[in-house]
Amino acid sequence: MLSIKNLHVSIEGREIIKGLNLEVKAGEVHAIMGPNGTGKSTLAAVVAGKEGIYEITKGEITYKGKRLDDLSVEERAREGIFLGFQYPVEIPGVTIVNFMRTAINEIRNYKGQEPIGAAEFLKMMEEAKNLVGIHSKLTNRSVNEGFSGGEKKKNEIFQMAMLKPDLAILDETDSGLDIDALKVVANGVNTLKRPDNATIVITHYQRLLDFIVPDFVHVLYDGRIVKSGGKELAIELEAKGYEWIKAENL
């Protein structure tokens, strides 16, 4: 589904990702771990298509056989890529209902489908709300405005449930969450798993992986994946700490 070959990314002339390779197939859950400042969020932003400061200097990303460079941010989303934000953006005045309706209809339009009917939309909202345990009228509020950290992250998973992406990249979704919120988020991700979709979980801590069991764990260090393995690698990392990785890569 996603294939990244020898990716190099610079921010303002400084190389952040230095030759990264990654293969993600349908049905798989990948965890990307690593210390702060090693390029995890840069990788997520580049796959989602964030413009501006990121410059791909070398390498190639293909998704479902298409070169991602050729697709705008919104086209990537319409093709099924979803980025769960580390810091979800507050947008005063835009309600979640309007936001999701617009997004779903643009995606449907892109696929040549009719706009969603009101009844179907309401049913989807209800299901997505239940999935992440939003019981208030949160959905009628402005996007993320005045939300607590936990509410913002739940709202990311809520949107994921609404959009049903093929490839979800969750960037530090666990940061700032207490254990209950973490369980809610993990349960959402696990429930949304299908044989034909894939998830990349980016995290600093092993804690989230107690609840979302990955098929593969990759350690990102200094812009490269320096170690890959099964879920036991995450446990080993937790025990030995990132110093272990740093020592090996000096």
Binding site: A77, P92, G93, T102, A103
Partner: protein, 471 residues
């Protein structure tokens, strides 16, 4: 009777016109009123039109507009052959209003120049009201429109003959909103000066909609003055919709006087216009008076809008809140100048002021100047101003969910403007303004055949049919 300005400068022409026609202009006035208007004329003769060397006019330049020649009417003779019914019909679904029509600054009606309801509410022509309700008119007219500080107010005071007159007596709640529709339609350049007088007695209530429109691309200058008196415990909701052509110069000065416990909401939606200047003066003239003064402006091309707001806290325990938001595209320009005066005895004043702007291009400009002048020591006052672009992080967030660039920008712009639009308390009106703002932001709104409110009637309104209460 009609005259042209075409010989000297506009100022010189106007001086000559006044001198030659003062018998017509001042006909039927009381001695006191004649003296006041002659004094106003002398002030204009001394000061002429405002220019950019004056602090309050530094960023709004009238010189191009006053170089042109104009046609001026001293009576509504142009009305012959015009079908008023078709011009002034307004078709907002489920918005029922009492329409008060003004054509080229003159009150027009097929049912007489004054109407009095069973409750004692009087609506009609100011010129007629001067004759038939002199006791009321003379008590209020020209009493708060200060001619000393602004020569355009002086000019209007000297020249204006007609306009709209509304009188709501004590204890009357007017149920149906009134809608002043001011249309300019003429085949030549026209210079309009009208004067509106709106009076609410005690415990009265009124919702007033003021629509200012052009129907074609003809050049015009409008110098209009509105005096509004809101009596003790009374409440006025005032909505202004401004959709003028790019050849219009529209100078709109409004004076509001609020007595004890009076309440005002004035909300101006500026959608289009070559040059628009709104001078808003609010005097809180009794304890516990409350004023919300709002505005949103969406300008593009080389349009210019200038909002000058002066709030005078003359008594303790009053509240005022100003919120003005603007989106400027192309090389459009905007000015905001907010002045709050808190007098020495006006303790426990709450006064807030906010002006926020989004510039969509490098060429669009905003000049914003908050000014607080506070002489009391126990007050809560604040001011804030922002000028920025659309939030790039928010744009990325919306696009990362599949929303295209155009729609993402539209959502953000609309959300920005909605904060002001949401203050509109008449629901069918809010829905229509909502639609118009969306059209304006998409670049699909033009000045219309007729009234500003007709604009989206040719299209099906877009509504999302989900019952929000179930969500």
């Amino acid at each position: 009777m009609e005259v042209n300005t075409n010989q000297l400068s506009l100022k010189a022409d106007l001086i000559r016109l006044f001198e030659d026609n003062s018998d017509v202009l001042l006909a039927g006035e009381t001695t006191e009123m004649i003296m006041h208007r002659k004094k106003a004329f002398e002030l204009f003769r001394q000061n002429g039109f405002p220019n950019t060397k004056m602090e309050k006019w530094r960023n709004t330049d009238l010189s191009a507009a006053i170089k042109e020649n104009y046609h001026i009417y001293f009576d509504p003779a142009f009305l012959e052959g015009i079908d008023l019914k078709t011009i002034f019909q307004c078709n907002i679904p489920s918005l029922v209003t009492d329409v008060i029509s003004q054509l080229n600054g003159w009150f027009v009606s097929e049912n007489g120049s004054l109407k009095k309801t069973q409750d004692g509410v009087i609506i009609g022509s100011l010129q007629a009201a001067k004759k038939h309700h002199a006791d009321i008119v003379n008590q209020y007219l020209h009493s708060i429109a200060n001619i000393e500080k602004n020569s355009l107010i002086a000019l209007n005071t000297a020249f204006a003959i007609d306009g709209t007159f509304i009188y709501v007596p004590d204890n009357v709640h007017v149920e149906i909103p009134m809608q002043m529709v001011n249309i300019i339609r003429h085949y030549r350049n026209i210079f309009i000066q009208n004067h509106n007088l709106i009076i609410l007695g005690r415990n009265a209530r009124l919702q007033l909609l003021q629509c200012d429109d052009s129907v074609d691309q003809q050049r015009s200058v409008t110098n209009t003055v509105t005096e509004v008196f809101i009596g003790e415990n009374s409440s006025l909701d005032h909505y202004k919709l401004q959709n003028k052509n790019n050849n219009s110069t529209f100078i709109n000065s409004a004076f509001f006087n609020l007595e004890k416990n009076a309440r005002l909401l004035t909300n101006g939606i500026t959608l289009n216009g070559g040059m628009i200047r709104n001078d808003i003066h609010v005097t809180l003239n009794g304890e516990h008076a409350e004023a919300n003064i709002m505005g949103v402006y969406l300008m593009d091309g080389s349009q210019h809008v200038d909002n000058q707001v002066f709030v005078d806290h003359a008594y303790p325990n009053c509240f005022s809140n100003e919120l003005f938001k603007g989106i400027l595209d192309d090389s459009a320009s905007a000015v905001f100048n907010g002045h709050i005066l808190v007098r020495r005895d006006a303790q426990k004043t709450n006064a807030y002021q906010n002006n926020k702007n989004i510039l969509l291009t490098d060429k669009a400009t905003v000049n914003t100047m908050p000014f607080l002048e506070i002489y009391a020591d126990d007050v809560k006052c604040s001011h804030g101003t922002t000028i920025g672009q659309l939030d790039q992080n928010a744009l990325f967030y919306l696009k990362s969910r599949g929303i295209g660039d155009d729609n993402a920008r539209l959502l953000l712009m609309y959300a920005f403007a909605a904060e002001v639009i949401n203050y509109i308390g008449i629901e069918p009106l809010r829905i229509r303004v909502d639609d118009m703002v969306k059209k304006r932001l998409r670049g699909e709104l033009s000045i219309c055949d007729q009234c500003v409110l007709h604009c989206s009637s040719k299209e099906k309104p877009v509504h999302f049919e989900i019952d929000m209460s179930k969500i």
